[in-house]
């Protein structure tokens, strides 16, 4: 039994105006906050859920330099404490809209507050992509899940499927293999995309099995997931197999619901396009982390984006 008090939030008094407002308290936002306060700016981080972002739902992290192995929750706590220690402020609320004035940015919150800032960094991260098959929405949270650390223990000694073949999918399959009886990785190609370290681990687990060249066509059940309809794309064979749950890790989409439509330059999926300083096409607005159009989405690259954005903001616009 453990007792955590890290997320304790006393609703703080917030000021009306900051040099730098950061949307999202994941690794990108927390690092931007750290560099912001180091540079002398007044900084407010707005977070709707929990500082740490996706790190909170990652069991163990083994590729953030300096930590051979650290739990996602622990790294989240350390990053938040680090930024707070040097004076960054935090406020728990969801950003629901933005307004751009000549020399100010207005950030609107769901508790009816509006905050002014000279510079804005969007570090709102990403959310899981859906499979878009029949039954997925119907059974979401009834056996269909996008988070193994959140929902894994409802599948103790059960048979689950993991869809995907990248780092997240394979990492989470390994995590689930400690809980579930059997984990089947369903992947549309004939080899994994995940880093070799994770691949080796997955291959060495007896209770992780692989369905190569396979796609899920339908998720079936009554009150909860009962089976998957799977198609082998090589042989075109279609069959139904019983599963108690299915975890989907097939990629991500940007978290951008609060952005004014069509104002920002994005790629076809909505990821924000920036220059090498993380500046978007809008004056004084930066983007950092998973929400950006980029190749490698990891904690270390999110942190790096945040550092670059805040440092550049201080030089370009804040003249501190």
């Amino acid at each position: 039994m453990f007792f955590k008090i890290d997320g304790f939030t006393k609703k703080p008094e917030i000021k009306e105006k900051y040099d730098l407002v950061i949307i999202g308290g994941g690794p990108a936002g927390l690092t931007a906050a750290l560099y912001g306060v180091h540079g002398g700016a007044s900084v407010l981080v707005l977070e709707k859920a929990l500082e740490g972002g996706q790190m909170n739902t990652t069991d163990i992290i083994e590729n953030y330099p300096g930590f051979k192995s650290i739990s996602g929750e622990e790294l989240s706590r350390l990053m938040k404490e680090h930024a707070a220690k040097f004076g960054s402020e935090f406020y728990s609320s969801e950003v629901i809209g933005l307004e751009f004035r000549e020399d100010l940015i207005l950030t609107k919150l769901d508790d009816a507050n509006t905050i002014k800032s000279k510079v804005l960094i969007i570090a709102s991260g990403s959310k899981p992509k859906k499979l878009n098959v029949k039954g997925e929405n119907e059974f979401t949270s009834k056996g269909v899940s996008y988070c193994a650390t959140c929902d894994g223990h409802f599948f103790k000694d059960k048979k689950v499927a993991v869809v995907g073949g990248g780092n997240s999918a394979v990492e989470e399959a390994i995590y689930l293999s400690n809980i579930a009886k059997e984990v089947h990785i369903i992947h549309r190609r004939d080899k994994l995309r995940a880093d070799k370290l994770y691949q080796d681990r997955a291959f060495s687990r007896d209770n992780i099995k692989f369905k190569w060249n396979s796609v899920v066509e339908e998720i079936k059940g009554d009150l909860k997931v009962k089976s998957l309809v799977i198609k082998n794309t090589k042989t075109n064979e279609v069959y139904e197999e019983e599963f108690d749950g299915v975890f989907i890790f097939i990629g991500i989409l940007p978290e951008i619901s609060f952005l004014p439509k069509d104002l920002f330059e994005t790629d076809e999926y909505g990821f924000l396009i920036t220059d090498e300083n993380m500046l978007t096409n809008i004056y004084r607005v930066y983007a950092a982390g998973d929400v950006r159009h980029k190749e490698i989405r990891q904690i270390v690259t999110a942190a790096s984006d945040g550092a670059i954005a805040a440092s550049n903001a201080i030089r370009q616009y804040l003249n501190l």
Partner: protein, 223 residues
């Protein structure tokens, strides 16, 4: 007996509890299971950290269930009363361990200072407008980082409107009930409304919703 809260945690909890203003009473109804023992110990450790905390322990047969709206089937059960013994409808079924421990501390502070920390004026008015008896049951697990937000929302809703009970239910401890509502993902919020003396499920949703959406879901249950 070994302490549940380690030294470092105790110091931090003490700091948090320094913000208390008035007495609060933590009322525990124990069963004969291990969780009941753990929860009793936890409450006693909290009491040691601040004099304003009182702890009252009852066994299920010695407790007068007629006085409070409580689910008799779920033990341990705990609720919080203010210095005058007023019940604000905050319920904990099972141990608020892991991330959920924060919720308990936050509830203690809210009851002790009478300050709601979350909702906007407009949303408070909307909550006040509910004139039917309602139970907001939030299923959680100790390892769920987003759950405290959902439970705190339910508890604060209960504090704002006396028609409403806000419950934390530890899904691992109460498997049968979790199965009944088909809990497969947490936080899982179930909203029940009393109609002709019987509780009826009116709505349910999964996840910690942003404030405005949360209020919408609550209001849907009484439309």
């Amino acid at each position: 007996m070994e302490k549940l809260l380690d030294r470092e945690t105790r110091i931090k909890v003490q700091e948090i509890l320094e913000n208390m203003e008035d007495n609060v009473q933590l009322v525990l109804i124990k069963g004969s299971d291990d969780y009941s023992e753990i929860l009793e110990q936890l409450l006693n450790e909290l009491k040691e950290l601040n004099d304003l905390i009182e702890v009252k322990v009852f066994s299920a047969d010695s407790f007068d269930y007629d006085l409070y709206e409580l689910d008799r089937d779920l033990l341990p059960a705990m609720f919080i009363l203010d210095s005058e013994g007023i019940d604000y409808g905050i319920r904990f079924y099972g141990v608020p361990g892991g991330h959920e421990f924060i919720t308990l501390l936050q509830d203690i502070l809210i009851i002790s200072t009478k300050r709601i920390i979350d909702f906007s004026e407009e949303n408070i008015e909307k909550i006040k407008s509910i004139d039917q008896e309602m139970k907001i049951r939030v299923f959680v697990t100790p390892t769920c980082p987003y759950c405290p937000k959902a439970v705190l929302a339910a508890h604060q809703t209960a504090i704002i409107n006396t028609n409403i009970i806000g419950e934390m239910i530890e899904a691992n401890e109460f498997k049968d009930l979790s199965d009944k509502y088909n809990v497969k993902s947490v936080p899982h919020t179930v909203i029940e409304v009393k109609e002709n003396g019987v509780w009826k499920m009116k709505n349910q949703f999964i996840g910690a919703y942003p404030q405005n959406n949360y209020i919408l879901e609550i209001l849907k249950a009484v439309q």
